[in-house]
């Protein structure tokens, strides 16, 4: 009677609703410099907190002498593990990471002590006066031998192993190809540094304003470490300058609160860029060995993959990344016989965890290279081979789960293939250096430059998998102010730049027919929204907002139905009025409600998922898949090994484009991050030490490196999802890099097995 379909039937609830691209509510603040990011927060009397970090990847701590630091004028507190009042272990999946190191450090950059001072430079200098007696141990640097090394944690060095088995264990194929690939460690490189402000409440509790991805999982961990109940640790989302997975784990959260509670003063902490490289988890480096077999017609017979992921010093979300790399490990293809082993280990390298694409990214470089190798061996067109084997609705993925909504893999790759090609590289006449590999470095005027075209298609699971109770909570209030109906929507979901605040407003407008929608700041006074990750917020928090709007609407219709002498039957809300089935207004909301407010709060869950079998990997583990395809066109200077990406075309099925502009923004940004990994982005770790922790040495694509990106958006609704939508943010990050690699291979003719590709690999 009052289901969400009603307003859909009588038309969009109001303009600027679902399917439009209205202005974002934080936009004016952001273009005028007034939006308060975590690093902009400020309070009278506040102190600056800094973190002393281990210079060694692996060492035993003998003693820590803080006396000289504490005696520094302007210093208010110096804290060590001895000052952690609760449990000195935190972590997303396993509580295995000390808030402050006790007897051992397991990675370079591990927090050891904290200082609060009047000025950040005083704090930094005082931290330099803390004397830590380290007894250096040899690092455990190679994840492929880490299982044989002495255990770094009580349970040994295996974080998780996932096996997927399907079909014939000893399949035979006409054509077999093999490859070994290596994917480097990528950094999220969000621009807004880790930051926050912790304010003691004077009664032993604390208010933490922090740039993060998941307030409630932060709150749980902060409470554990501080030994406080959740009512005494209140979190509010500060402005977030990008996240991409790198803010799912704690950064300054507990540290800031410890200093605040200890000094009784507000504490501001802001990481420098260098510290940021040590202050969050990275994308897991991967070692992948693959073998694919096909019959002579090009039909895939089997696929085998072994994937090793370096989890680094602490588990973070390695367990879930392992499961993702395994279950997404063979790409969106129908493969009758499957054998995948994927494992993640502890080492003394930088901890790795969530980053956009979450395990699917690494595997895609391998499986798409396999498809190109097969095409080559079969003398087939690589796009035709992909279409020949494309997964579709009704397919079963390697875990046995039925693909029970649209999976237009063949159409997506066909669409990018059919787009017009960019103009050929200039062969004569004056050249614009900016359009050539090497750019204004003036390394070529076109000599040695070869064009290459490459394709890739990928899929990514949306939301949390394997039986996780993945829910969100929304509070929606409808009231009248100044004669105008106003909706306030309140969730704890982190807006990190993607535009969730806009989408929440749009959903309220569509569902409640009210144009003015205020987004309450995200905080822990409302229930958990889950993480802003796994492409899940528009789906799950969007679903929660839609659901709670329906509850509010039901109440409004109930109030309306109770009125005498109605000219029709109330069925929906539109343009500030209750309407009948023909869309005719029955009564204005302002008149109906007067000074009464209708407010509802509830949780919402996506459909259930299940764990996978530990021996076979079979199980309905995932909620939904998101599919995308890319075509990359590159010019490669094959003599110098330099690459210019000329164009990066993408086609993606988004189910429903909730906000078409934001969808494009996600595809463009996601594609660019995948391209960055393919070409230039790598945290280089030597014997456990990061050698390039700066934007001088860790390169991300600039506007000069980034090509035009023609985009095709498909909208095949997923009947199981709110509005039919599919999570958008990650799939393009999965397919863009492999397409770029394929294009470079096509240009230079070498079997590039390392990501990011280096000039010496291209020269061969």
């Amino acid at each position: 009677m009052t289901g969400p379909a009603i307003t859909e039937q009588v038309g969009t609830g109001t303009a600027r609703g679902v399917g439009s691209s209205p202005a974002r509510p934080d936009g004016v603040l952001k273009v005028t410099g007034q939006f308060a990011y975590g690093s902009d927060l400020w309070m009278d009397g506040m102190l600056w907190g800094v973190t002393l970090r281990s210079p060694h990847p692996h060492a035993v701590i003998g003693s820590i002498d803080i006396s000289a630091a504490l005696a520094t004028p302007g210093v208010h507190a110096v804290l060590t593990h001895a000052d952690v009042p609760g449990r000195n272990l935190v972590g997303l999946e396993h509580a295995d990471q000390p808030v402050l190191a006790e007897s051992v450090v397991r990675y370079q950059g591990e927090p050891v002590a904290l200082v609060a001072a009047d000025h950040p430079e005083i704090a930094r200098r005082a931290a330099g006066r803390i004397v830590v007696d380290y007894q250096v141990l040899s690092p455990v640097s190679d994840p492929r031998t880490a299982l044989d090394a002495a255990p770094l944690h009580p349970g040994g060095n295996l974080v998780r192993r996932v096996k997927i088995r399907k079909g014939d264990p000893a399949p035979v194929a006409d054509v077999v190809v093999r490859g070994e690939y290596r994917v480097g460690m990528q950094d999220q490189a969000f621009l807004g540094p880790e930051s926050g402000l912790a304010i003691p409440d004077g009664e032993g509790g604390v208010d933490l304003h922090v740039a993060t991805q998941w307030l409630h999982v932060d709150q749980q961990q902060v409470c554990t470490a501080l030994g406080l109940t959740p009512d005494r640790v209140r979190l509010t989302l500060a402005g977030v300058g990008g996240a991409f997975g790198g803010r799912e784990d704690l950064s300054m959260h507990v540290h800031g609160c410890l200093l605040a509670l200890h000094t009784g003063k507000p504490i501001k902490m802001v990481y420098s860029r260098e510290e940021s490289f040590f202050g969050h988890v990275h994308r897991h480096p991967a070692w992948l060995q693959y073998e694919y077999g096909a019959d002579s017609s090009g039909a895939l017979v089997y696929a085998r993959g072994e994937i090793c992921l370096d989890g680094g010093a602490y588990a973070s979300s390695t367990g879930a990344v392992v499961a993702n790399a395994a279950t997404m490990g063979l790409g969106p293809y129908d493969i009758p016989n499957v054998h995948v082993d994927c494992y993640g280990v502890y080492t003394t390298n930088p901890p790795c965890g969530a980053m956009r694409g979450f395990g699917a990214v690494q595997a895609a470089f391998a499986y798409e290279a396999m498809m190109d190798k097969l095409a080559d061996a079969l003398q087939m067109d690589p796009v035709a081979l992909r279409i020949r084997n494309a997964m579709s609705e009704g397919s079963r993925v390697p875990t046995g789960q039925l693909v029970d909504s649209a999976a237009p893999v063949a159409e997506l790759i066909g669409r990018v293939r059919d787009l017009p090609q960019p103009p050929a590289p200039p062969t004569a006449g004056p050249v614009d250096l900016r359009q050539l590999p090497g750019g204004v470095g003036n390394t070529t005027h076109g000599e040695g430059v070869r064009r290459g075209v490459g394709y890739a298609v990928a899929y990514k699971n949306v939301a949390f998998s394997e039986g996780f109770d993945d829910h969100s909570t929304a509070r929606v209030r409808l009231e009248v102010a100044g004669g105008t109906p106003i909706v306030t929507v309140h969730t704890a979901a982190a807006e990190v730049g993607q535009g969730l605040v806009t989408v929440q407003q749009q959903i309220c407008r569509t569902e409640l027919g009210v144009d003015t929608v205020l987004v309450h700041p995200a905080d822990t006074t409302v229930g958990s929204a889950g993480s802003t990750s796994a492409s899940r917020q528009t789906y799950v928090t969007g679903g929660a907002v839609q659901h709670v709007c329906a509850l509010v609407r039901a109440r409004v219709l109930e109030l309306t139905a109770a009125l005498p002498d109605l000219p029709g039957t109330p069925v929906g809300l539109r343009d500030g009025a209750v309407v009948d089935a023909d869309g005719a207004a029955l009564i204005d909301l302002a008149e109906l409600l007067g000074d009464q407010a209708v407010e509802r709060t509830d949780e919402w869950r996506h459909r259930r998922t299940y764990p996978i079998d530990p021996e076979t990997g079979q199980g309905d583990a995932h909620v939904q898949y998101s599919f995308s395809a890319h075509r990359a066109v590159v010019d490669v200077d094959v003599e110098l090994g330099l690459v210019k990406v000329i164009e990066l075309a993408c086609a993606q099925d988004v189910g429903r484009a909730m906000n078409p502009d934001a969808v494009l923004g996600q595809i463009q940004g996601g594609s660019t991050q995948g391209m960055g990994l393919a070409l230039m982005e790598e945290i280089q770790v030597v014997d456990g030490k990061i050698v390039n922790p700066s934007f001088t040495d860790y390169l991300i694509p600039t506007i000069l490196d980034t090509p035009p990106m023609p985009i095709q958006v498909l909208e095949n609704p997923d009947p199981h999802a709110p509005f039919g939508l599919r999570g958008v943010g990650e799939a393009p990050t999965v397919s863009s890099g492999p397409a770029v690699l394929a294009a470079i291979r096509a240009a230079c003719g070498h079997d590039l097995t390392r990501v990011p590709v280096r000039p010496q690999d291209i020269i061969g």
Binding site: T32, G33, S39
Partner: protein, 178 residues
């Protein structure tokens, strides 16, 4: 030390400035102008771009003391604050309309850099835009909508200049006094 300077046309001063502080720190932490951003503080990202005597600089690379007695214009100074409510500069409006703002951390620096670009080259080619903005990193957008925003702003400013809708087409001049 004491530093006196003019920011967005307003004479300001800060006391007890430590010699090692940057202009960026001075603006953000002492003068209450956190609009200029601190993404790297090593001159690599452009998020702190401001005008110093009419020339764009990375505020993180300028010592606070070096700015003494000089004219600084920040993102906060692009808005026409003579109107009520403050009117967005056409470049700011174009960034919003084009969807060029996601997390927005790169935005203040890009706005100042674009303001400078369009003052020098009112109708830049895409290649000129890319070259001029290559010092401003953005991690969210993939730059496509930033290019759209610059094209849109250039078009609107040109239309304003020829059509004369009363708006000062070039916006505040670098180092403008108001």
């Amino acid at each position: 030390m004491r530093v006196e300077l003019t920011v967005n046309g307003e004479p300001l001063l800060a006391d007890d400035v430590w010699e090692g502080e940057s202009l960026l720190y001075l603006l953000r932490e002492r003068l209450g102008l956190p609009g200029s951003k601190n993404a790297c503080e090593q001159g690599e990202c452009g998020s702190c771009t401001v005008y110093l005597d009419g020339v764009t600089v990375c505020a993180c690379l300028v010592a606070a003391g070096q700015a003494a007695g000089r004219q600084v214009v920040t993102v906060e100074g692009l808005t026409d604050r003579m109107t009520e409510p403050a009117a967005l500069h056409p470049i700011q409006q174009a960034f919003l309309d084009a969807g060029a703002v996601q997390c927005g951390f790169c935005t203040p620096g890009l706005l100042v850099a674009t303001h400078d670009l369009l003052a020098r080259l009112p109708a830049p080619t895409d290649e000129q835009v890319r070259e001029s903005l290559a010092g401003n990193l953005c991690r969210c957008t993939g730059y496509e909508k930033i290019l759209d925003a610059v094209r849109l702003a250039a078009g609107r400013l040109a239309a304003d200049a020829s059509g004369g809708h009363g708006r000062n087409a070039a916006g505040p001049k670098p180092g403008d006094q108001r």
